[in-house]
Symmetry: C2
Subunit: 110 residues, 2 copies
Amino acid sequence: MKEELSDEALELIADRFRLLGDPTRLRILHTLGRDEMSVSELVAATGAGQANISKHLGVLLKAGIVSRRKEGLTANYRVADESIFELCDTVCTRLKDQFEQRRGMLTGIV
Amino acid sequence: MKEELSDEALELIADRFRLLGDPTRLRILHTLGRDEMSVSELVAATGAGQANISKHLGVLLKAGIVSRRKEGLTANYRVADESIFELCDTVCTRLKDQFEQRRGMLTGIV
DNA sequence: ACACTATATTACTATATAATTATATAGTTG
DNA sequence: CAACTATATAATTATATAGTAATATAGTGT
């Protein structure tokens, strides 16, 4: 039996994928890794603008992918949803396989 | 040691996530499931326009997520990259957990 | 050859959103 | 309180892309 997925459910899932479909957000998440970092640390580490980083962090926070801990003036973020690492690993592995396979299609020609 | 991910690598991974970040494409993939279907079958099953389905299938094909088998006039597609099911399951499970957790935050108030 | 059908492509419109600049907010220090 | 700092927000611009209508392409049957 195939479950019926409603349009709303598909929207929710698509939203989550779209969230991960931005290089700057992936850069933020990869830079954070398992550590906690402040906005300015992320700005320094990624080279992106402060407003841009703040906005992306806001998006990730609202989606529950990161958590925020305020401490005085600084805001410290950390990855709250570790499943994103699994997702990225799956995608990365699959992409490597795919390139390997496509490379294989061309060997023996030259 | 944390691997350094280049901007190009992040782009590739983000591209893949962005590909999955569209409800219509998710609908197509979910409708396909493990079966092979023609474009017109997909059009009928999803309710989307023919041109739209064709375009999305083209995108998915170029990305290697589906494969195409032409048979006379009809084009039959099937999911070629089963890892997408794993990705969707992971996201879906995580979203459910998240909603359950957020629901828990509100219980006992009313 | 002609009509018909299935799919792909093109051109267009509308919408979403990433990046940036400027500004607001709020905590800190003198 | 004034100056300073860190972060967030608003407004703007530019770009990407989803959906659609029209058309092209190509296989099928008469």
